[in-house]
Symmetry: C2
Subunit: 203 residues, 2 copies
Amino acid sequence: MSTKRKLQKELTRERIIAAAFKVYSEQGFTAAASAIAHEAGVSQGSIFVHFPTVDSLVLCLLDSFSQDLRNEILALEDSGGDIERLLDMHIGVLIKHEAFYTRLITEAALLPQEAKHELVAIQSTVSIHFMQALEPQMKTGTVKGIPFHMIFNTWLGLVHYYLMNADLFAPHDSVLTRHKRTLTKTFLALIENRTLKNKEEQQ
Amino acid sequence: MSTKRKLQKELTRERIIAAAFKVYSEQGFTAAASAIAHEAGVSQGSIFVHFPTVDSLVLCLLDSFSQDLRNEILALEDSGGDIERLLDMHIGVLIKHEAFYTRLITEAALLPQEAKHELVAIQSTVSIHFMQALEPQMKTGTVKGIPFHMIFNTWLGLVHYYLMNADLFAPHDSVLTRHKRTLTKTFLALIENRTLKNKEEQQ
DNA sequence: TTACTCACTGAGTATACAGTCATTGAAGCC
DNA sequence: GGCTTCAATGACTGTATACTCAGTGAGTAA
């Protein structure tokens, strides 16, 4: 029942998505559909056989990317309250997709509104792991009594700030790879509650 | 000496810049030159009488904006080591220009390379005030022993994160006005060194 | 073998925009 | 008053892009 045809169709569809991922990562979201078609090795008209509009391709790609990223995050082993491990793992996942992720946050203004929901969904997934790791430490008081979401926003703000200014902090290189230690150490030093930590040491 | 002509020319030039500021603030940097001309009440061709390219208009506008902002920051009274005052004043200046400043940081990817230097220049000016306010506190130890630039990057990261996600944190409203207290309190709690502060209190 | 289906093609269409230029008329100069 | 200059105009050109569609040929079904 026309399996060969459907298979071929699905294959080109995925080649287009993979090409879009590569082209957008390298050139940003202003890249033209023709560039994606060229990268995928198909004609420019093929794009519109599979996707009614360019925006729908972007949304489809983002949906797939968001799924992948969230699955990777969910698959991270439970850090058991070790925040440093969690930060390392978070940065590790981002490094794997750094080029595209950076485009996402720097060019979010160019993307359709629905695309931004995907970004929020990614951060929500991260925040679940964060919450689990931070909760015990917040109860014992080794972490400061700042609302959880503000601690989380500070972390994301810091990481995104480095990604957005990558050409300042690490020109022609991976910012996260080069600065991951600085980022985690700084963040840990900020949230740690030295008063209580010292008290524990004294006991 | 053709004074009337030159005066008129300078006047339209400034009307164009003012219109560009308004249009870019409201519509973002994807707005067309014709929209700016319409807002300024001049023909679309007039734009190119005063600026060879649209990019040169953007650079001119940014130069003017950067100058204004930096002057406002430099004019801030010396906070005399009171960091909370400094943060308040910084946010106060940003609130005045929130719409345009938010466009700048969310759409920096759309701007010519030179435009990003202006942003760096603004942040450098802010950092000077920051340094002056933080230095005494870092010496006395009431602020944690984290490298100054990391403290500064954390602050900017947090503020920019809120601006970039304004539609999440304060839809159809000024994020900075609504959240300035949360932002400053969180940041102060993070950088304060409770151990030493408590010791002082005990004395 | 034959008729039909459909993924794929690429030239073509519509649109939006940056930037040009011949023209205009008011301002300046003698 | 007559000549010159030049800011301003808006129709025009060139280009880039999203999206369309009639045509093609391999795949499928009888």
